[in-house]
């Protein structure tokens, strides 16, 4: 019988779920927009992925959860941090990647990975929504455009205006002030994108620039954000076809790699999950625990993928 593994990434604004087979090939994936971390949103994402894979929860051989809401995912064999999962998933999608920049709804991360796709170093924004998806939402609202229109607007901008504040709240005030001065929305949009890219560059500086660079997370769908980031980094920036699911995919790979391994005592994060809730029960008698090294030690390049990436040149 073919084995199936589930990875769930319950982020701050979206829930993602990925089902893989025993070779790490993605069979199904879903992304559900939420207002905030929500168990209901997580369940919808899981249900959609399972339906697409044509299985029920009973057919799963392992589940790993990640993201802000990882503790809310019942039945997961264990949890991993987003750092580990994004690195793992991205390295599998884009073999050879050395720097992963993940920009989600509420936080941004720069992660360096070694040639085997394992985490070497990471840095995260630490106290506000600066340079995150939330920041772009604030920008779109202030410019009275749809989030999907923001990239085209920014690409039309030519002037580099000073946008100094990186606090989402104060930046909105700054944007309103620029609008009140009669400056074109396109110039404001491009300037904010540049400012965010510069902010991300500071994050990269903490871990050291490596190439190839891959941008993941919801913000990677914003072509202008990718363009300005590539410009700031001075190098090409690749984007996977589905940049939002890298964390969930990494979690699924970790579930796959750890399935069936014996436990080795209490593990980080293992106390997060209510193991008694059989939402995603595995086969009877299968030990779902894993030791502390499982899942993160296996090289990522061995996984077969059908995913494509696109590269954006500075």
């Amino acid at each position: 019988m073919t084995r199936r593994y589930l990875g769930v990434d319950l982020g701050s604004t979206t829930a993602k779920a990925v089902v893989t087979d025993a070779g790490g090939t993605i069979l199904a994936a879903s992304t559900v927009q939420m207002g905030a971390v929500s168990q209901r949103g997580m369940q919808r994402a899981v249900d959609a992925a399972l339906a697409e894979a044509g299985i029920t929860a009973d057919g799963l051989d392992g589940t790993v959860a990640t993201g802000y809401g990882r503790r809310l995912v019942p039945g997961a064999a264990r949890t991993y941090t987003e750092i580990t999962c994004h690195a793992r998933g991205t390295a599998a999608m884009c073999p050879g990647v050395r720097l992963v920049i993940d920009i989600g709804g509420q936080d941004s991360k720069a992660i360096t990975v070694d040639p085997d796709g394992l985490v070497e170093d990471f840095a995260m924004n630490d106290r506000c929504a600066s340079g995150t998806g939330r920041f772009y939402e604030v920008l779109a609202r202030a410019l009275e455009c749809d989030l999907s229109e923001l990239a085209d607007l920014a690409r039309r901008g030519g002037r580099d205006l000073e946008v100094s504040s990186m606090c989402a709240t104060f930046a909105e005030t700054e944007i309103v002030s620029l609008l009140a001065q009669g400056l074109p929305p396109a110039d404001i949009a491009s300037s904010v994108h540049r400012a965010i890219a510069a902010r991300t560059l500071a994050l990269v500086a903490q871990v050291g620039k490596r190439t190839p660079v891959v941008l993941t997370g919801g913000v990677a769908r914003n072509r202008a954000a990718v363009h300005f980031l590539a410009e700031a980094l001075g190098t090409d920036v690749q984007v996977p076809d589905r940049p939002q699911i890298t964390g969930a995919y990494g979690a699924a790979l970790l579930a796959m790699e750890s399935a069936g391994r014996p436990p080795a005592g209490p593990e980080p994060g293992s106390g997060d999950v209510d193991m008694s809730v059989p939402l995603f029960p595995g086969p009877a008698g299968q030990d779902r625990s894993c030791d502390g090294c499982d899942g993160v030690v296996a090289p990522a390049g061995a996984v077969q993928l059908g995913l494509r990436t696109r590269a954006v040149t500075k």
């Binding site: 991993y80 394992l118 106290r127 903490q206 502390g292």
Partner: protein
């Protein structure tokens, strides 16, 4: 965290220290009624000098930490804010300045008026009672090294009390450590700075003689320092025992020992306390009892304590199987080099300890000390508490992280918090970074070697 998952195993003897501290503060609250003169001070541990001078002493920083540890800092901080000091000021100072305001108000005094007046906001909470119980000072002494806020702190208190009370300031040269012969505890910079501070301590003693109207009792100082030196030696012995694997006690136990070594009187009770700590650790070692059940990771903690979070952090790290073993605040402060103290003539050794404040070294020395302790305790990673309102402590942290990464291959994480203001602490920030670092330590172990790089988050 679920209490049933608590894997921490704190020393039982530190509870005795808690009682000593409670008794100390209760005595201080009654000092005026007992006819004692009272000195308010901050910075290095001048208490043996005050003890020998027959004074009662209030270490402002320590009282702020105590309020924070009891989660009673709010009213004092509100009073400090009302007086004009906002949340970016050192929260120790903000809390203690608030205590000054409350102490004045509690005793019917009017504020100096040059920087603010009561608005009526403060004093609305019953918990203000403790913050307001500090006895009115007779004078101030400042003994702060390596922190510009600390050096001005008692000057601000001086203004709060209407510039009517005497104040004595001791100046400490920063130990840059950049001369050719400079090193930890050696070199001309060290020798000359030690003599300079020792000279000021002698001037302080003259100042105290003028304030008390009594000749200073040098024999009493020698006696107090004899007890303190012995207590410090016992503390060092206990710290050294914690190099064992698994460690019999943790950083959090030593945090609980800060108050006794920092400001309790030098007497037999202090020695007995640290003998008890050392003995319990030795007993645990013999019995194979560890400070964290199933120790899996060994960590270094850099940063001043987040006093509102002592128990929480102790349980949190233990939950991950992480034994926090050593740190700058514990290993490089509080009479940490007792061999420097000549009990017959302790002034020079005391001056040297005031210079050895962990915020008073250049990065070269901090780098030496940090890497030394990381090696000695065989740590797997460093957790940097980026103390929001203590930039003197946090300033060199990125350099230390990079050095540990480059020279020892030891990863680091950073989290923001504060000494006495819990609002700067974000649980998810520490949790996600800690878990990620531990995951990658697992990777390193599985590979049987060091990570090529380390974490900078």
């Amino acid at each position: 965290m679920d209490a049933t998952q608590d894997r921490s195993n704190r020393l039982s003897v530190t509870r005795a220290g808690g009682q000593l501290i409670t008794d100390y503060w209760d005595d201080l609250f009654q000092a005026r009624e007992q006819g004692k003169q009272i000195v308010w001070y901050n910075g290095g541990a001048l208490n043996p000098i005050f003890q020998a001078a027959g004074l009662a002493w209030c270490h402002g920083e320590a009282f702020a930490a105590r309020l924070a540890a009891q989660r009673l800092e709010g009213p004092a901080q509100l009073a400090g804010a009302e007086y004009g000091y906002n949340a970016e000021l050192c929260s120790y100072a903000r809390t203690h300045l608030g205590c000054s305001v409350l102490t004045l108000g509690n005793q019917g005094h009017k504020l100096a008026g040059d920087e603010g007046e009561h608005s009526g906001v403060v004093g609305i909470n019953d918990s203000a009672e403790l913050a307001a119980r500090l006895p009115f000072p007779d004078f101030f002494v400042n003994n702060y090294a390596g922190c510009s806020t600390g050096q001005q702190w008692d000057g601000i208190s001086f203004r709060v009390f209407g510039k009517q009370l005497p104040i004595f300031n001791i100046s400490h040269p920063f130990l840059w450590g950049n001369k050719p012969d400079a090193g930890y505890l050696r070199g001309e910079e060290w020798e000359s700075a030690s003599r300079y501070v020792a000279g000021q301590l002698r001037e302080l003693i003259s100042f105290l003689e003028a304030q008390t109207g009594r000749p200073f009792d040098y024999d009493a100082l020698s006696q107090a320092m004899t007890y303190i030196k012995r207590a410090a030696e016992l503390r060092r012995e206990g710290l050294d025992l914690c190099r064992a694997k698994p460690a019999p006690a943790t950083f959090w136990d030593w945090i609980a020992c800060v108050a006794p070594i920092n400001f309790l009187p030098g007497d037999q009770a202090l020695v007995d306390y640290f003998a008890g700590v050392r003995d319990e650790i030795a007993e645990r070692l013999a019995a194979g009892v560890s400070g964290v059940r199933d120790e899996k990771y060994r960590l270094y903690f850099d940063g001043i304590m987040n006093w509102n979070k002592l128990g929480f952090l102790s349980r949190k790290f233990a939950e991950h199987g992480a034994a926090v073993l050593c740190g700058r605040y514990i290993h490089n402060a509080f009479w940490q080099e007792p061999q420097l103290i000549d009990t017959a003539d302790p002034i020079l050794g005391m001056a040297q300890h005031y210079l050895l404040c962990p915020t008073n070294h250049g990065t070269k020395t901090l780098d030496y000390l940090t890497l030394r302790d990381c090696r000695d305790y065989d740590v797997d990673g460093i957790v940097f508490h980026s103390t929001r309102t203590c930039r003197a402590f946090t300033g060199p942290q990125r350099l230390l992280a990079k050095s540990a990464q480059d020279k020892l291959g030891i990863p680091s994480i950073f989290f923001e918090g504060d000494v006495a203001d819990a609002s700067f602490y974000k649980e998810e920030i520490l949790e996600s970074r800690l878990a990620a670092m531990l995951e990658a330590i697992d990777v390193r172990r599985a590979r049987g070697g060091q990570l090529a790089g380390a974490f900078s988050s």
